[in-house]
């Protein structure tokens, strides 16, 4: 594939679409919203292809491990591919089996993993969350008040949950809004970089 098709052409498409959607938002163009909606629909379609690409990549990666009998890895790959095939085939041909697998195996395993992490949270609270300076004291204080505010029974004791709610509503809200504003400005800066062709990671470039 030529360099033009690999890097410059995708950047050109990106810049045209970006400018069009950006200006269409501010300047009324006849038929503009319809074209924007169509572009949005294309993104949905492309995203579906991205899922397919992910599945193919998984098969390629683990298939290679299985074929090459990579030590300590090939059987993990075999389990993943077998699970994938089971879900795919059952979803396609035997819907009740798929529903059963989803509800009783996938959901159960996923929940178990989250619970496992939960136990380590508790252990970490005792073992590692230590006050060593003023900043960590503030964090600990906010953490305790939020835990109290979130415990249902705390609401029955007047004022007990209010400190946590106040922290969430006042300093928490302020900090979060500041964070959102800075993130939005950051996104805007990235958009400008992309419009100038400086963001090239999606074409396989280094930045």
């Amino acid at each position: 594939m030529s360099n033009f098709m690999r890097t410059q052409f995708p950047i050109a498409i990106f810049i045209i679409c970006q400018f069009y959607i950006f200006f269409e938002f501010f300047i009324p163009i006849p038929g503009g919203p319809a074209l924007t909606a169509l572009l949005g629909k294309w993104v949905v379609g492309v995203s579906n292809f991205a899922l397919l690409l992910g599945a193919l990549n998984l098969i390629r990666f683990h298939g290679k491990n299985i074929v090459q009998q990579t030590k300590n890895e090939w059987y993990h790959g075999a389990i993943i591919l077998a699970s994938m095939a089971a879900m795919f085939l059952s979803g396609w041909f035997f819907k009740p089996v798929y529903t059963w697998l989803y509800a009783n195996i996938y959901t159960g395993l996923n929940t178990a993993l989250m619970c496992y992490v939960g136990f380590y949270f508790y252990s970490a609270m005792y073992k590692t969350f230590k006050v060593r300076n003023f900043e960590s004291f503030i964090t600990l204080f906010a953490c305790i008040t939020m835990l109290i505010a979130n415990a249902p029974i705390s609401g029955t004791v007047w004022g007990l949950a209010d400190i946590g709610v106040w922290i969430a509503n006042v300093p928490g809200s302020g900090a979060w809004r500041g964070f959102l504003m800075s993130a939005a400005l950051g996104m805007f800066a990235v958009a400008i970089r992309a419009a100038m062709g400086l963001e090239r990671a999606y074409t396989g470039g280094s930045d």
């Binding site: 909606a37 508790y122 509503n169 809200s173």
Partner: protein
């Protein structure tokens, strides 16, 4: 070794065991601890009760099994309430895992007694995350051509009345990840927006509620318990509230105890390895 040193070096398995007991004990012997209803849940409830029969609500299912313990009961209780009020429902997911959960939740909430396609529909998965949402908001039928069962949307009666976000009188997004994109895409369109979230994101949703971008939200399992109390139909949320109260306070106790023991052990030269 002093008691403080022993506590400082407490075996984590003891913490795990106590946590297990605090989780199981209230299920076997419910304590019936009170569940006061928060303003966020009251607002979510009020937004629902003002609807008229046959109004259409939309609910997103954007989570998978790992977060289902907290989020599924919220969907369940809202759908049960909507069914009681004779509303119509549209379910949709912007993440892959939500499709099955939507089917399961609609069935468990009792929507099987209604007619699929007329009173409720599961639109399935819409790819593209935020872009998918933006397209969904503008024109549903242009975004997806068929529901989760593969029936073309043009053949589904409820979809004649559900063209875009303005067709809904209530929209509840349920997500285990960032809520920002939902607020960005759904709010400000004249539709009351309700957030169904994990407790982890409580403070984030407080911000959006304070600014009026969402009407209310259900705060994790506690939110669903509060909603169950309000509609007088106790379920898994209410059952879990004794656990939630005990385990939250256990966490507070661990944080305080961990810091007290570590402070005194640091002050004690023996614990630092001195003689």
């Amino acid at each position: 070794m002093s008691l403080l040193e022993k506590l400082d070096q407490l075996d984590r398995r003891i913490i795990f065991l106590i946590l297990l007991l605090l989780c199981f004990f209230p299920v076997l012997m419910p304590l019936g601890l009170p569940v006061p209803v928060s303003p966020a849940t009251t607002s979510a409830y009020n937004a629902m009760v003002t609807l008229k029969p046959n109004d259409i609500i939309c609910m997103t299912f954007d989570y998978a099994g790992g977060s289902a313990a907290e989020l599924y009961p919220q969907n369940l209780v809202i759908l049960k309430h909507a069914l009681k009020l004779n509303l119509r429902a549209v379910a949709v997911s912007f993440t892959v895992g939500g499709l099955e959960l939507a089917d399961q939740c609609l069935a468990e909430a009792g929507w099987g007694s209604k007619t699929y396609g007329v009173d409720y529909v599961n639109l399935g998965f819409v790819a593209g995350t935020e872009t998918g949402m933006a397209a969904f908001v503008k024109d549903i039928q242009a975004t997806i051509s068929a529901d989760a069962r593969g029936t073309p949307l043009s053949q589904i009666p409820i979809m004649n009345d559900a063209k875009n976000i303005n067709s809904f009188k209530y929209l509840a997004f349920t997500t285990s990840t960032s809520q920002d994109m939902y607020v960005r895409q759904f709010s400000g369109k004249g539709v009351p927006i309700i957030g169904c979230i994990q407790s982890l994101y409580f403070s984030v949703l407080q911000v959006y509620m304070g600014s009026g971008q969402i009407v209310g939200f259900l705060n994790g399992l506690r939110g669903s318990a509060e909603y169950e109390v309000m509609i007088k139909e106790l379920g898994i949320g209410a059952i879990s509230m004794d656990q939630a109260s005990l385990t939250h306070w256990f966490a507070v106790l661990l944080l305080i105890m961990g810091n007290i023991t570590s402070y005194f052990v640091r002050k004690n030269p023996r614990a630092k390895g001195g003689k």
